[in-house]
């Protein structure tokens, strides 16, 4: 019981910190709207110039819906603790976790989910508004079952992205100043995950490769579950692949962190 308590407290503190900076979060939401608006203009122009009704397998309405959803989902799964980890390692604060009876991974995971919760609630609210809006104005309807499955894939997506970036943040043990590297990696992963536009845009050969990479399963896949583009067989395969990648990255992050913290211990904090 007391053992669980330390992690639930970490969760709570992450939650409180997020509330402490609620204005910051609200502003970040506004800034998230910005690329969505730009893309809406872009796609409008593309569809008008195109002779076809369907571009890359999407109708205009589907494309705009995807853009909105991608903006929101990418924001839900997004991490940010990698900078904190970099700071912990760089300033030696990480050593505190070596002397206290607490697991760094569990601690980070809990405080991360706590930190996500207020934003998550807000974005899910927005998502409902977007979905209802799409339904009323454009008649894009979403099956109730799809929403349920979507929520399942979202939890897996958040977990997968956490592990992905938790593994990446282990770079801090080898390179002292990695802020820009993280930013670069984030931009590439957001592109590969379909967080900006549908992966079909890149072409078939690219799709075949991306299907086997983990990134797609953090943004693109949940959206395609929600909008009904993925058939039941695809959903099952997708969820299995999500789980597979989660297991793989559990192993990878475990290994990297074990080697990394040994290095930290050797070099000194």
């Amino acid at each position: 019981m007391l053992l669980l308590k330390k992690y639930s407290k970490a969760f709570e503190l992450g939650f409180q910190t997020a509330l402490e900076y609620r204005l910051n979060f609200a502003i970040s939401l506004v800034s998230a709207a910005y690329p969505i608006i730009i893309q809406t203009f872009l796609w409008t122009a593309i569809f008008q110039a195109s002779a076809q009704q369907v571009v890359y397998g999407y109708t205009f309405r589907q494309m705009i819906a995807y853009t909105f959803l991608a903006g929101l989902v990418a924001r839900i799964v997004r991490t940010g603790f990698e900078y904190e980890i970099m700071d912990d390692v760089k300033t030696g604060k990480f050593s505190r976790f070596l002397v206290q009876p607490v697991g760094y991974f569990q601690y980070r995971l809990c405080s991360f989910f706590g930190n996500k919760l207020p934003g998550l609630a807000m974005i899910l609210g927005l998502l409902v508004i977007v979905l209802v809006g799409l339904n009323i104005f454009w008649g894009v309807s979403v099956q109730f079952v799809n929403i349920l499955v979507f929520l399942v894939t979202m939890v897996l997506a958040i977990t997968l992205n956490f592990l992905l970036f938790y593994s990446i943040s282990a770079i801090s043990f080898w390179i002292v100043e990695v802020g820009f590297l993280f930013e670069g990696i984030r931009i590439v992963t957001i592109l590969l995950s379909g967080g900006i536009f549908p992966l079909e845009v890149f072409g078939d050969r690219f799709m075949q490769v991306v299907n086997f990479l983990p990134f797609k399963y953090t943004v693109s896949f949940p959206i395609n579950v929600l909008n009904g583009k993925t058939d039941p067989a695809g959903i099952v395969t997708g969820i299995l692949l999500q789980c597979l990648w989660i297991v793989i990255f559990l192993g990878v992050s475990n290994l990297l962190w074990r080697v990394g913290s040994r290095r930290f211990v050797a070099v000194g904090g």
């Binding site: 308590k5 330390k6 503190l13 409180q16 030696g92 050593s95 002397v99 206290q100 000194g268 904090g269």
Partner: protein
């Protein structure tokens, strides 16, 4: 015996970097690897309830030693047993019994009130509610910070923050406490308050306290026994009395003058240690005569600013060797 250290050593690898852009570019392609022996073959024992000071100049190896004893660093060689454990194995039972406070590193959540962080530590160390309440009450009372528990840490002053750090470190009633420069950056009053707190804590709780500092006052005030480290070696281990004789023999007076005074005149007030320009002078005077000499200086010299200081640790150590006839090569 609570701590037993045997020939403990630690060396780091680092890269040489010379001054200038040219060598920066050269460094991109080739870096000369060097080894720094931070701690060399040190051995000592510490009994339960002792309060021991680690004294030495910056970079002497004090912090490195503490980090090895608390399990943050792996040694390159040697053995250590702390509370019956090998620290760098980092067993949970070991972690539950000690605390380390580093004056330059904070563990409190910056954006939240201190009591949130304290409660987190309560959970981490699995302290039950009643013990937590009574410990918290006692510590906040002693350090006089009861009213500040609900203030965000970022709004606290440095001294207040340090007190909260101490409470956070002591909430699980550790048997052994490592303090690394706990008074660094604090004003004299806060330093004194924190020292008094440790004195009380050591006496009342029978907690073993190991303290590093490069302020002599910290050690002088707190520790009967001191271990002096220089360049990774223990150069003195024992009663502070012996050290005190050397350190406390003379005091340093720093003067800022409004009108130049000749060295000859200055010499009548004390030994001129340094005269960086005509108006800035450092004098050394015997401690016993400090009062009279200060008075004379203030009365007869055109003094703008006046400061009494201890002999710098580095020099004190050098003096110690002179006195004991230890060859300089060791120091």
């Amino acid at each position: 015996m609570i701590i037993d250290v045997n020939h403990l050593s630690k060396s780091f690898e680092y890269y040489k970097k010379e001054l200038g852009l040219k060598s920066s570019i050269k460094n991109l392609f080739y870096r000369e690897k060097l080894t720094k022996e931070a701690v060399r073959q040190i051995s000592f024992q510490i009994e339960e309830g002792e309060m021991v000071g680690f004294l030495g100049p910056n970079g002497a190896g004090k912090t490195t030693t503490l980090k090895m004893l608390s399990g943050i660093l792996h040694p390159t060689g040697g053995k250590a047993s702390v509370l019956g454990f090998t620290p760098w194995e980092r067993k949970k039972a070991f972690k539950m019994q000690f605390a380390i406070v580093m004056g330059q590193k904070n563990q409190l959540w910056w954006d939240l009130p201190a009591n949130e962080s304290l409660y987190l530590n309560k959970c981490i160390y699995e302290v039950d509610d009643r013990t937590y309440q009574s410990t918290l009450g006692e510590l906040t009372e002693l350090l006089d910070v009861k009213d500040l528990l609900n203030v965000q840490v970022r709004r606290l002053s440095l001294g207040e923050r340090m007190k909260m750090e101490l409470i956070a470190a002591l909430i699980h009633k550790p048997k052994l406490i490592f303090l690394d420069e706990p008074t660094i950056g604090l004003d004299i009053l806060s330093q004194k308050k924190i020292r008094e707190f440790f004195k009380y804590y050591n006496r009342e709780k029978r907690a073993t306290i190991i303290l590093t500092s490069h302020y002599i006052a910290d050690i002088e005030d707190l520790c009967k026994r001191s271990i002096i480290i220089n360049q990774g070696r223990i150069v003195y281990d024992g009663d502070l009395q012996g050290v005190n004789e050397v350190f406390a023999q003379s005091k340093v007076i720093k003067l800022q003058l409004s009108v130049p005074v000749t060295p000859k005149v200055l010499a009548t007030f004390g030994h001129v240690r340094e005269q960086s320009d005509e108006l800035t002078v450092t004098l050394e005077v015997p401690r016993a005569e400090l009062k009279e000499r200060s008075k004379a200086i203030l009365d007869r010299l055109p003094v703008l600013d006046f400061n009494i200081e201890d002999i710098p640790v580095e020099e004190g150590i050098a003096l110690l060797f002179e006195k004991q006839g230890v060859p300089d090569a060791v120091a």
